[in-house]
């Protein structure tokens, strides 16, 4: 007979109570994707495809979880506690596990237990990049899966689609003037995307805290001018005129190909305050007034992690037991451009404290847009400009093109000229807000 100590019995009872509590309280978890829902004649696989897409052209669904997790800094200090989003429209691990038990089953995107399990401790930095097309409609469900490391916190979460034109209050994600979603419940937003450009999404609940903790990501809306042979829309445009260089993708509906590109990359600048994150991890008061960032990042990583692709990054950084070995930093900053191609950098700054100036050493940057607006005059004259430095303050987005035809193949550098941010934490020579551009 197994002798049970009182403490073991108590913890088992507590665990049982917690599980029972979670099951009944998950009634609020609900993914809404009307064209896909079985009740509406869809196939219930979580995405709008096949016949559903024909009946509802240009409609898509997305499901993000909001919760906590850990990320690795380039100086390999102990894992940094953070908050973030994760895509729970599908989960491979749960799918494999379910199929092993019953080949006809799998991840059920509408099952609250699957959703919460997929989202728990899965926060990412930067949160997943979302790519959309002009004219598409998006049902975007946000499920608050709670904070595993801080069960004492009952924070709600939201999605603020930063820059969305003519936004309504209910779908703008600012809790003080509308609604936020409590733990173990879901809120579905609806957006009809009508303006191409580079957007940001971030949490606006207790914005100073949640944004410092890392709840932000990219949204890009592609213009209708992009060549889409299947739909018979868009155009291939030669730019410059007479050069023989044909583009099929553009930053904006520019009319002349002057915002055309071949490859694109996010460049989301931000920074973390390790004292703030550690205080959050260890249930200490949060230092708002003394907030001071010491880990400057591009796309959630510091140099030299920024120059690594995802596979190499995880080999170097390892995955952390603390977050159940979820891969939490999936937006690479290694910019690789085939020689002659044009690269489109989606630049944004999510720092809660300061502006950063970005410089491109060796490759001129052409700025074609800011804040989802192409740079042009009232009569449509292009106001694109070349520069080697770009100042980006919190909340701003810029559309930057790098032309490589007149640049020799090799390795170049993109970094902040606020040189004190070229370190990870305390003392380092070359770290922080820097990445490499490889032209091959």
């Amino acid at each position: 007979m197994i002798k049970l100590r009182l403490s073991m019995v108590l913890s088992m009872l507590l665990l049982a109570a917690v599980f029972v509590g979670i099951s009944t309280a998950r009634a609020g978890v609900k993914y809404q994707c009307p064209p896909d829902e079985i009740a509406n004649g869809g196939d219930g696989n979580g995405i709008v495809d096949g016949a559903e897409l024909l009946a509802h052209p240009g409609t898509a669904c997305l499901h993000s979880s909001a919760g906590d997790g850990f990320v690795m800094m380039a100086d390999r200090r102990p894992p940094m506690y953070m908050f973030g989003y994760h895509d729970v429209t599908f989960d491979q691990e749960i799918d494999d596990r379910e199929k092993a038990l019953d080949p006809l089953s799998g991840y059920d995107p509408y099952n609250p237990d699957h959703i919460v399990e997929a989202g728990t401790l899965s926060a990412e930095l930067s949160s997943p990049t979302i790519v959309r097309k002009e004219g598409e409609s998006l049902y975007w469900t946000l499920t608050n899966v709670g904070m595993q490391v801080r069960p004492d916190l009952f924070d709600a979460h939201t999605i603020h689609y930063h820059g969305f034109p003519h936004a309504s209050s209910i779908f703008d994600g600012v809790p003080d003037v509308s609604v936020a979603i409590n733990q173990l419940a879901s809120l579905t937003y609806y957006f009809k995307e009508t303006r191409p450009g580079t957007y940001i999404y971030h949490c606006h609940v207790e914005a100073t805290e949640h944004m410092q903790m890392g709840m932000y990501g990219n949204i890009w809306v592609q213009p209708a001018q992009n060549l889409d042979l299947a739909a018979g829309t868009g155009a291939a445009i030669e730019y410059p005129s007479g050069s023989g260089k044909l583009y099929e993708k553009y930053a904006y509906n520019d009319g002349d190909g002057s915002t055309g590109y071949d490859v694109e990359f996010p460049l989301q600048l931000s920074a973390l305050d390790s004292a703030f994150h550690d205080a959050s991890n260890f249930v200490q008061p949060l230092p708002f007034a003394l907030m001071d960032d010491d880990y400057a990042l591009i796309n959630g990583r510091g140099y030299p992690d920024t120059k690594l692709n995802n596979a190499d990054f995880y080999t170097s950084a390892g995955t952390m037991i603390e977050n159940g070995e979820h891969k939490s930093q999936n937006v690479p900053s290694n910019i690789v451009i085939p020689h002659g191609d044009t690269a489109y950098l989606h630049v944004s700054n999510l720092s809660v404290i300061r502006c950063y100036t970005l410089t491109s050493l060796g490759i001129p940057m052409k700025v074609v847009g800011k804040d989802i607006g192409e740079l042009k005059s009232g009569t449509g004259e292009k106001l694109h400009y070349y520069t080697s430095t770009l100042e980006v303050c919190g909340g701003e987005t810029f559309d930057v093109l790098l032309y490589t035809a007149d640049v020799d193949p090799g390795t170049y550098f993109l970094y902040t000229t606020n040189l004190n941010y070229l370190s990870n934490g305390m003392d380092e020579d070359f770290g922080g807000m820097m990445t490499e551009v490889v032209i091959n």
């Binding site: 003519h166 989802i372 607006g373 740079l375």
Partner: protein
């Protein structure tokens, strides 16, 4: 004035006349006019400012000693920021400074050529000695309309930090508050720079600043201060920190509230759907402050009192130059730099939201301003037609001349839009029981692919001359909101997702929205500035309330 905009072929058409249509305002007196000391009528404007020491309040219960300007009116107390001085283009402005703080002080007026009389010359300008007797008179001609600042020119690292700063607004010639620009008299009415490109309906000021209370305590005690240690712990918007930024005395139509006697200005912004809002932005303080406007992009139209336009000389050259192009920046985040000013025009119409943000049904009541543009069918169509020909230039004013024109008068051609086809005999789409909701997508040259009978309406034949309106009216709310217990509600939420409506709220949550308006925050996007000394929420945050315009077409009788 003669203004011409060059028309280039293609997508953008600047329709000057449309700017003359007025949108009836929610008439809340006092909203939409910058409060200040207005002496803009007459040949000269005379102000008398006294630099004084006093205190301000911050929302965490703190009190901070300040040095600021009093304009010797009302209670005579120091004001933070200094009184907004409103003058007229071409006026001679005399500012007399008296000094009651413990060190010499002066005023500089960036953007103006100043002559002084009295006082003793300091490094930058004439200074008034302490003691309250010495005076300096600063004189300049307000040659150019726009937004400017004034602040101390002595020991500026300390005195501007202490609060000795304010804003000057120069109104253009021909300005009057009551008229839509050009609607009554050509060249006259509400505009920032005296032209239709800077015309507006309502006007608000945003002045950013930050404070390090330790420096203020030391200065008030007469101690030596090392301003190199300046580390702000409070952030301000028109002299107040959130939520004081929203304190407004509705009854007396003023931002002045008795419990903030030295902080006279609020930052609450209110406008109706479709109204053009002029936002005058200025920054003091230490840091770049990126002001983010939720709700929509706006147009940055001027910096440092100069409109961002391309002009050619008029003939004769004594007439104002002719604007041939605008270099406005289409942005949602405006970086306010200490010492600089900027002017922005912002508008919200709800264009292309894809659901009826008033929550109306097809034949329910309809706000008249829901129609963004309208025209008539050129040819008769049957119930199964999948294309329409509507001349793009035929998109023009709606059923009456008080509709909202979307953004710059452009009907989008790159994505699907919602429209309603209805009987020529009905003034508004909701008055036709058989109106058909359709979706249109431009296929070029005035041709549209059309999806018929959407959102519960029935496709039917329509005769040539039937009306078609570009509007979201009648489109259903797209999602099911969670149960009340699963949501947290903001103080300003009305309980309903629809503009102008209220609905159930849990006890103690929401409801602080007298107009059931759509509320959006306008705030600095360095969120560290949204705290009051370690307490979230506070600092540089205000709210814009977007209200429903007044005119409504009643529901169709059953």
């Amino acid at each position: 004035m003669n203004k011409k905009l060059k028309k280039t072929g293609g997508l953008v058409v600047m329709i000057m006349a449309l700017l003359m249509f007025s949108v009836p305002a929610i008439t809340h007196a006092g909203f939409g006019v910058v409060e200040g000391n207005d002496q803009s009528v007459g040949a000269t404007a005379n102000f008398s400012l006294t630099a004084k020491q006093d205190f301000i309040s911050v929302p965490d219960g703190g009190v901070i000693p300040m040095w600021g300007y009093s304009d010797n009116s009302g209670s005579g107390r120091m004001l933070y920021p200094g009184p907004t001085l409103i003058v007229g283009e071409g006026q001679i402005v005399n500012v007399t400074l008296t000094n009651e703080i413990s060190q010499p002080t002066s005023i500089v007026f960036p953007g103006h050529v100043v002559k002084t009389s009295g006082g003793t010359h300091g490094l930058l300008t004439a200074e008034a000695a302490t003691g309250g007797i010495d005076t300096v008179v600063y004189t300049f001609t307000a040659t150019n309309p726009g937004t400017y600042t004034y602040y101390s020119g002595t020991s500026m690292d300390l005195q501007v930090e202490m609060g000795l700063m304010g804003v000057i607004i120069v109104r253009p010639a021909g300005f009057n508050q009551t008229d839509e620009f050009g609607a009554v008299t050509p060249g006259e009415g509400r505009s920032a720079y005296g032209n239709p490109e800077s015309a507006y309906d309502v006007e608000f000021l945003e002045l950013f600043d930050d404070i390090d209370p330790a420096i203020h305590d030391l200065a008030a005690l007469g101690q030596v201060v090392d301003t190199n240690t300046n580390t702000p712990f409070y952030w301000f918007f028109n002299g107040r920190a959130f939520p004081d930024t929203l304190e407004f005395d509705l009854g007396n139509a003023t931002g002045y509230v008795p419990w903030l006697p030295t902080q006279p200005y609020d930052a609450l912004t209110i406008a109706a759907v479709g109204q053009k809002i002029l936002v005058r932005v200025a920054a003091a303080g230490n840091d770049l402050t990126p002001q983010h406007f939720h709700g929509n992009n706006g147009k940055l139209i001027a910096r440092d009192g100069r409109q961002l336009v391309v002009t050619v000389p008029a003939v004769p050259a004594t007439n104002p130059p002719i604007i041939t192009d605008t270099l406005y920046e289409d942005i949602n985040t405006l970086v306010a730099t200490p010492g600089q000013t900027a002017d922005m025009i912002w508008k919200w119409t709800g264009q292309d939201l894809d659901w009826d943000f008033y929550g109306h049904s097809k034949n329910g009541a309809m706000n008249k301003h829901e129609v963004l543009a309208s025209t008539t069918l050129a040819t008769t169509i049957n119930a199964t037609a999948t294309s329409l020909n509507i001349a793009l230039t035929g998109w023009g004013p709606g059923p009456d001349d008080t509709e909202i024109i979307a953004d710059d008068g452009v009907v989008p051609s790159t994505h699907t839009i919602n429209a309603i086809i209805y009987d020529v005999g009905s003034t508004y789409p909701n008055q036709d029981a058989n109106a058909e909701l359709v979706k249109l997508r431009s296929t070029g040259s005035g041709a549209y692919a059309v999806e018929r009978g959407t959102d519960g309406s029935t496709a039917k034949p329509w005769l040539a001359g039937s009306k078609i309106a570009y509007t979201e009216h009648g489109r259903p709310f797209p999602v099911i909101l969670p149960e009340l217990q699963d949501m947290s509600f903001g103080g300003v939420y009305s309980g309903s997702p629809f503009l102008g409506e209220a609905d159930s709220l849990p006890p103690g949550q929401g409801g602080l929205n007298p107009f059931n308006a759509f509320a959006h925050p306008w705030h600095v996007h360095h969120e560290k500035n949204l705290v009051n000394n370690d307490l979230f929420i506070g600092g540089q945050l205000t709210v814009i309330l977007i209200t429903a315009p007044d005119e409504v077409s009643p529901p169709l009788a059953p």
